[in-house]
């Protein structure tokens, strides 16, 4: 029997899309930066000290509570998260491609920006709505509440069992410049392996409908390797807290 119009209308709300993970992340970071800025203007030094201590205690308590919740889940925590994904790629400017971005750390920069941590990412189709895999070794001061984190867009990538070596074999490159980019023409789907070693135990958690993330203190070593399903290497990037390397296939361009 055909459902009535009212039922059809109510069910059609399921067609509402989710926010793009990058847009949500950027919005949250803006929010935190603005609230911190406002708090700073209000803060009196002595009270500031007390408040900071309180915030730290509460943050630790919140983290403890979150950790306790996480511990109840089936997936065990470990310092190393390592996942191989099959991710779809998007057409951009008439070309199906992936983009690797590597940012080495900028250790001393005056506030409000503060030191920029190492980060590497692979995107396809733009950060707004496209496929997105990234890791950052430490926090962005005044913006991110998280320390190191590894993330990927859930709707564009699924976990697979496949061999993707974390190696630069067949690729060219080396130490990355600030926000160095490499674009590579890619097939409809690519294999991506993301691995991160955290200072504290971590695990993959669905943090929003479109985003999986692993967070657990700073990342001491991280890597992203991208291959075609035929095993042809496309790109490889590594990040430690002090340096970032980026390698790409010869057909890729800056």
């Amino acid at each position: 029997m055909q459902p009535n119009l009212e039922t059809l209308l109510r069910e059609a709300r399921a067609a509402t899309p989710d926010v793009a993970p990058a847009a949500a992340e950027r919005g949250i970071m803006n929010l935190l930066a603005q609230t911190e800025h406002a708090a700073r203007r209000r803060r009196v030094p002595l009270i500031g000290g007390i408040a900071l201590a309180t915030v730290l205690v509460l943050a630790l308590a919140a983290l403890g509570a979150e950790r306790a919740l996480q511990d109840q889940a089936a997936t065990p925590s470990a310092r190393v998260v390592d996942r191989t994904l099959l991710c779809s790629t998007q057409v951009q400017g008439g070309l199906r491609m992936i983009e690797m971005v590597a940012t080495p750390p900028v250790p001393t920069r005056r506030e409000p920006l503060g030191p920029v941590p190492s980060s590497v990412s692979m995107t396809s189709g733009g950060a707004e709505t496209g496929t997105w895999i990234s890791l950052q070794t430490d926090r962005y001061p005044d913006t991110s509440p998280w320390t190191g984190q590894a993330r990927y867009s859930r709707q564009d990538c699924r976990v697979v069992n496949a061999q993707v070596p974390l190696a630069m074999t067949g690729l060219a490159g080396g130490r990355a410049m600030f926000q160095e980019k490499q674009k590579c023409e890619a097939p409809r789907q690519v294999l991506v392996r993301i691995r991160a070693t955290f200072e504290r135990p971590s695990r993959w958690v669905a943090v929003s409908p479109r985003l999986m993330a692993a967070r657990g203190g700073r990342i001491t070593q991280g890597a992203i390797a991208v291959r075609t399903q035929n095993g042809r290497p496309l790109a490889f990037a590594t990040a430690t807290r002090t340096s970032v390397q980026l390698y790409a296939a010869r057909h890729c361009w800056r």
Binding site: R10, A12, A15, P17, V19, I28, L31, T54, V55, L58
Partner: protein
């Protein structure tokens, strides 16, 4: 005494200035606010901006929030109000007969064809009818609440809903005939 909910604890921590809790609250409810605003605006870029504004408003208003009540509907209401403000700013409520952005709205890839077809039909309604349908069927607003939020009489809301349903029935019938 009843144990406070996770959200109530989160709200208390945010009120005390806990950034970690603030980030968790924003992370948890960003998509809720975004989806509510998107249903009204059907425009990703505008929705991103409005969500930012809505979450800011939520944080600023947390002191007045009653912890015994659920957080989700409260945030949804704020997001919808911000989205309606955005529409009013653009005078889209009175002048447009098509979705606000030039590009077609994007729908959830996991939705069924039927759901997308009905959503498309809703999106194609003239703005004043589309808004009452969205508020009533997608955001569960009572007719009286719609009248309050739009500042129009209840009778006007009922009339718009009735006319919108008639148009949607036609549109769905045409779609079925075409198929």
């Amino acid at each position: 005494m009843a144990r406070p909910s996770d959200d109530a604890i989160l709200v208390r921590l945010v009120r005390r200035g806990d950034r970690e809790a603030l980030a968790r609250l924003a992370d948890k409810y960003w998509n809720v606010a975004w989806q509510a605003a998107y249903r009204v605006l059907l425009d990703r870029t505008a929705t991103d901006d409005v969500t930012q504004e809505a979450i800011h408003r939520v944080i600023r208003s947390l002191d007045t929030f009653d912890e015994t009540r659920p957080l989700r509907p409260w945030i949804t209401r704020i997001a919808v109000n911000c989205a309606l403000d955005e529409l009013r700013r653009d005078r889209r409520l009175v002048r447009v007969a098509e979705p606000p952005d030039e590009a077609a709205p994007r729908w959830n890839e996991e939705a069924s064809d039927a759901q997308v077809a009905v959503a498309e039909a809703v999106a194609a309604l003239p703005a004043e009818k589309r808004i009452v349908v969205v508020l009533h069927y997608w955001l569960d607003y009572a007719v009286k609440d719609i009248a309050d939020v739009l500042g129009v009489p209840v009778g006007t809301v009922l009339a718009r809903l009735s006319r919108a349903r008639a148009e949607l029935r036609e549109a769905i019938k045409e779609e079925e005939n075409a198929a």
